[in-house]
Symmetry: D2
Subunit: 333 residues, 4 copies
């Protein structure tokens, strides 16, 4: 950490700050320029609260020499992490996967039929919501435990590992058969949940929060990894901006940027980001073109959706077409 | 709910949608204009997924006749809610309170000395962090249970009810002595936590998430209220914008806007919003001038902060000055 | 326009509003539901100030039946517009172009050498800044008229049509030799400039403002088109969000969304959006994959940039590699 | 300027960069720490393009010792600037003013009646739009020259100096009778317009752009001041965020933050920020409480507005009430 002091800093305050650092067991390398004093902190600065130091009246600015994430940092782990999602299905390090399925699990026939269809089109992982985070307490909250059972049956039928969202660490016993546990955007900074997921041995699909920076996403991954579970799949699903034609703004530059910062795989969820099915195909292709390790896509087979071909989910036929186009792009890059 | 269909909608699709609504037990009032068909849904539309309907290709737009929050809605509860925070300290309905104390509880002398000082300046509620949500797993996470014990001792000494943050519903047994339980910005949409807080009988101070709308804040209040606990104090603490001189942007228009939407009290936390102590005084005064029911202000008495007078916390002397000015403004309005 | 009135609206106010509409020459179709009155406005509602109506206390909500842009609207012009940029270089309707060149025109050898290099790699349009919008009045403002002359010479040498930015309609006489006139992000809503560009007969490359919605971008295109000049090329170059690793957030969903809303061609500028050269290649490929009609890419050949290979511009060799990869993607889609 | 180089920087690249700086006439003070090399640039670094340096691969980070604005900087001009708006009406340095009037000038009786009314309530400056920036080319663009004439007549009648918006420097001859020239939010970075306003001798009311930082606002003020006109009044009028209940989010922390950064006066426009009249009073009071030098408030007297008491404008009676409350708050602070 490098701390630049303001040029008018009184000598006494400067010395007080240096003493305080040294009392924390940190060596301070002082460099006096014509205008400013620059303090280079050497040693374990991790217990120093950066916000506190940055807020001090005498401090011009604080520069981090290294990123605050360690285990997720590509600098210390140059090779791509490859994650085994169960049944030999790999993500990362050149392994690309489709994670497809309905928004919510609704019935045995619904989930099994969709599972078969997307499997035929090349999807190796089945998604489906059992516990649903809803803005309103009066909205349908998912089939919960029953939903996970239905997913498990579809898994038996098709051999596809299953991906579903957790909202409460107390529910973990219900997730024994789940292959990849998803942390939703609203829980990205539910640190208590992240800590519990750090203690288990299953891949975690961690979604970026609606208004979280990439650094915060990596720090949340770090929470899980610090606990011992290093099997993290990052997921960009759109951020909140002022634009109103799309529900959220899909930040595809997150893919190459995260690739340079971390060794963890990155998948894109174009369905939730845009909120309109006609954008799923072009954004899926764009995600593949800029190097994503996978795509998470909503597929439905029910009549309400079929009625009008509008919402964010694709029909199995549409998904099949998207999957082919994406694979063609994958071949080029 | 009013659903406006696009003007080129095929008759068959229109009928399919109307049938689907009717199958959900909803009466549909159809009004055909020169250009558009407008459907007025009558009955319990709460199980209808608005996002789904809005996403349909044939739908132009969906209008809600009533806000989705019921128990928090001023329309149905015109009178201000007054919340008893313990020891006869009231917030709301004309009762204004300062909630003051350090960011983190650090030691018995620290918390007790600050408590005495802010109490002398007119604060009736003591705040202090025991469980601290930190972006990095390597940062200090608070004294936890010990921190709550220290708060309890300061409460004994001063008689001030205490306010502290919860991050995990499993910690509730530790909060027996806590008078007001705070839900932090990052947990505003931790619906599982909100549901558990709906089952207890203590006031909840619910902070607005960094990128959450006022409607989402009210829906999160509704989660707690739907469970039976209607003692909610809302708190605006700054939202995430593009501005960089301030840490967050304090949205003071939230005060009068929330006042018109809900009967719940609203307090402002100017310390976290701005991240610099020199803004605390003017923003506290502005909050009082536009009708806030209280102020949550960080006060410190330790040498690191005292060293330079920079960060977001005030000294007890500064707090005393702010409290006087705020009370003068309160007298006018 | 459909106006939904609040359910508690007094009859007299409702009648006053209807009278007021009728006095503006508008026919009002009234539909009374159980809860709400819905007014359908028929006739030329273009002189009605929507914001005014939406702000009225008795109005629940205002819905536009048609988008406010007419000439830019795909609904009324289903076929893609193909724009001739001079010298037979076409953009739109399946014609894809690279617009490449340096950020600023600096010297005859600089611009001519870069022009030759990018031309060899497949770029058909030469870009280069002569008038530079700078945040600070003390920063270099470009070579101005001399810069345009240097571009003209490079055009003579290579036959490439040239693209450069205008900041002031009074400079138009200097742009006689310019083939495509660029309007920068900061001038997207400089309506006086847009009006003047509506009177000339040259293609306009209109960049989206940093915080402007797609609807506002199309309304600005409409300003130029309403004046008679329908040769508009839209350009997405990144929007302002809270993310800090990238300078701006490139909104690629703008490509398919704009394609559905308008017949005008859309190009992507990945150089400015991200602010780091390593993101230019993946974002250029993603833009091609989701259907962009062209790419605007900064290319340099000077030693400061070459020194460290960091900033947003590519070397001619890097550009050549990107162009090949993009063309491979173009072949698939 | 302080440039921190990355710790792995090759010696040759470091030397190349230092040589390049020295060739620009800058003295480089080199400080080598254990991990990093820190370059302190001494001399006129204003011609250095910070973005370019920051983007270099070998550069960790660039710190500005001084803010890029000079003439607007409080550090170099510690005393508040007091601006004479004509007729002895002062703003800044303790002088607080109401700028009131209709959104658009519509007729002689409208503007004169409103002028008289607001004058009676204590407003010393009359506002009214003659040239109106409208998102749509098909919307009413204002009475233009005729609007300015009507304002001039109201000025004659009441003695109030007038404030109105300019959109095109070519219109300056029409503004001879205008006392304070407003630059709207959309033109805040229309640098060509700012340069022309730097050459005249009239106060400029400069509105913050919808998505512009405070630093950018000050740099735009600097554009005008650099040309010789130092009579700038800054105006905050709401920024674009994700919140939808209010049209924009009024950033009141801009008031104390700007006060610490600049000596220029700051006024608040609560009418445009919120878009609903019921928020004007509380936000006006909050603005006064946090130290604003003035308020710009829309007042109407026409039947469409009067009809329903909804939109952002106040009636003269409402304005009178707001003005009294604001003055009471002014007396405290």
């Amino acid at each position: 950490m490098i701390v630049v002091l303001k040029n008018e800093t009184p000598k006494e305050q400067e010395e007080n700050l240096i003493n305080w650092f040294e009392n924390q067991g940190i060596t301070v390398h002082i460099s006096k320029g014509e205008y400013n004093t620059v303090l280079g902190l050497i040693g374990d600065a991790s217990r120093i609260d950066t916000d506190l130091i940055e807020g001090l009246e005498i401090v011009q600015n604080v520069t981090h020499i290294t990123e605050p994430f360690k285990k997720a940092n590509r600098k210390f782990h140059p090779d791509d992490t490859v994650i085994d999602c169960g049944g030999g299905v790999l993500i990362g390090g050149g392994h690309f996967q489709f994670i497809a399925g309905p928004c919510s699990v609704e019935s045995p026939s619904q989930i099994t039929e969709i599972a078969r269809a997307v499997h035929n089109s090349g999807a190796k992982l089945l998604r489906g919501g059992a516990f649903k985070p809803r803005t309103s307490p009066y909205d349908f909250q998912g089939l919960k435990a029953e939903g996970i059972e239905l997913l498990s049956e579809a898994k038996k039928e098709t051999g596809m590992p299953i991906v579903t969202e957790i909202m409460n660490a107390n529910h973990l016993p219900l997730f024994e058969n789940v292959d990849v546990i998803q942390v939703g955007a609203r829980n990205m900074q539910n640190f208590e949940l992240l800590k519990e997921l750090g203690k288990i041995d299953k891949p975690i699909l961690l979604k970026r929060g609606l208004a979280n920076t990439l650094k915060e996403l990596l720090m949340s991954a770090e929470y899980i990894m610090a606990g011992g579970n290093e099997k993290i799949i990052l997921c960009e699903r759109g951020i909140r901006t002022f634009e109103t034609y799309t529900r959220n703004t899909l930040d595809l530059s997150a893919v190459p940027m995260l690739k340079s910062l971390t060794h963890l795989p990155i998948v894109i969820d174009p369905s939730h980001a845009c909120g309109v099915s006609k954008l799923v195909e072009p954004m899926a292709m764009a995600a593949a073109a800029c190097g994503a390790d996978g795509l998470m896509i909503e597929v439905h087979n029910d009549p309400v959706h079929a009625l009008c071909d509008g919402p964010q989910a694709l029909t199995p036929e549409q998904f099949d077409k998207v999957a082919r186009k994406v694979m063609a792009i994958r071949e080029i890059i």
